[in-house]
Amino acid sequence: MEVINITHSYDPAFVAEVEAESEQNVRLCYQCGNCTAGCPYNFAYDIPVSQIMRLSQTGQKDKVLGCKSIWICATCESCTTRCPNGIDVARIMDVLRHMARRYNYNTVPNVRSFVDAFLDSVEKHGRVFEMGLMANYMTKTRRFWTDADLGRKILPKGKISFKPHRIQGRDEVAKIFERYKEQQR
């Protein structure tokens, strides 16, 4: 088992940042493990969600933001629903992803690429354009074989459009992204 010296690596600014952004008090967690017990993604995690809570309490920024779990969490809300202390754990997981982006951790690059491809599509067309999203994702990750088997099943059903559903207000949507990026600078 890995031993962490928490006094050495305690980063109070990290704890404050997590708490401010998530509007949650991470110190309320008393490590009952309920969130981990119900987390359907535990089998795919490198650090279980209750341990992420503990590491967040103790300000272990690098451990937390560098883990894979925060990218794999699907926001299924099981942890939030079941936490006996009413902590919105899923919101904390979300905030940790935001911070991982900000501090340039990219532990599961495919997930990040998918998210980026999705939002590119919304920014450009106002709605998601599935075909374009897949093409963009494949270019970003160079995984050109992604879901090739599904194409054969779905194309004959006429469910995938070859053209984006452009909306009138796509400039308004683009402006939301523009202002957002402006603020990030």
Partner: protein
């Protein structure tokens, strides 16, 4: 039929494509049940899961544009078939009750929303405003002999203080509606367990594991079909069933209906409006079995 109730309608992006059969059957069923839908004019994407994993203010702004459209159309309630859209619209409304948060969202929008709109799922309105009893009276073709596993997905009812509908661990709205249609609802213990969500593309093994578990249990409970209320869940279970079989060395062949398709069928709506031909796992055998049963019953 009782008087028509009017709601603003937010279809969601997948309704324009991969879940078009959900979209069509939703519209057909709402009309048959006296629920009048007014489409949100020029609605845009709510950001789905990707937006909230990047930034909560951005995510709320993408929902906010749509909430603001509803307000300018004079609508007080909007309903959506998609649980992901539902979550985003509801969470945005919920978080914007915090004035500091709302201010940040407003700064991204041409036209901020005033937080006057209530958001509900189509399922909630069918369950609460129409009700299983009324539906039962309208059934012309009971789904006798059809054993189904109702699958709600993870976020339709959770977290409870935001979603405010049904039970977060053991929801029953779909169960009761399906029973009213004459179907046999099997006990399904993984009603709200996650199917793997949007990881199908980037982390396929997650979906083949989690969705595989769901189908396995449906088989174990002797269900002939599963019933979903979410475009993403349905796609993982239905379209990806081949990938699930390949990964788990299973031989599942389980049709996965949208609950609206089954309501439409029992109400005797034209099958063309229900889009059974859009499903990946062919449901013909199951549909024929119901038909034969109802012939015997008559």
């Amino acid at each position: 039929m009782s008087e028509a109730r009017t709601f603003g309608y937010y279809p969601g992006c997948s309704g324009m494509g991969t879940s078009m059969e959900y979209e069509r059957s939703t519209r057909a069923v709402c009309e048959a049940l006296g629920i009048k839908l007014v489409d949100l004019e020029d609605w845009s994407c709510c950001g789905s899961t990707p937006a909230h994993t990047v930034d909560h203010v951005l995510s709320a702004a993408l929902s906010g544009r749509n909430l603001s459209i509803a307000e300018s159309m004079g609508l007080d309630t909007i309903i959506t078939p998609c649980p992901s859209c539902l979550t985003n619209l509801k969470t945005a409304t919920h978080r914007m009750e915090n004035p500091a948060f709302k201010q940040k969202v407003d700064a991204l929008l041409d036209k901020p929303a005033n937080n006057t709109v209530t958001v509900k799922s189509v399922l909630q309105v069918i369950y609460e405003d129409v009700g299983p009893e009324t539906i039962r009276q309208q059934v012309v073709r009971p789904l006798s002999g059809l054993a189904v596993a109702p699958y709600y997905g993870c976020i339709m009812n959770r977290p409870p203080d935001v979603m405010q509908f049904d039970d977060p661990e053991n929801p029953i709205a779909m169960d009761e509606i399906l029973s009213a249609l004459g179907a046999d609802v099997v006990p399904f213990g993984l009603k709200v367990e996650c199917c793997g969500a949007s990881h199908g593309i980037a982390q396929k093994d997650v979906v083949t594991t989690l969705s595989g578990r769901l189908i396995e249990l449906a088989y174990a409970e002797n269900a002939m079909a599963m019933v979903a209320a979410c475009p993403l869940c349905q796609m993982n279970l239905d379209l990806r069933q081949g990938q699930i079989n390949a990964a788990n060395k299973s031989r599942y062949n389980m049709p996965v209906f949208y609950y609206t398709q089954l309501i439409g069928l029992a109400l005797g709506l034209p099958e063309k409006q229900l889009g059974f031909d859009k499903l990946a796992v062919n449901p013909d055998k199951v549909l024929r079995a119901i038909q034969e049963q109802s012939h015997v019953a008559q």
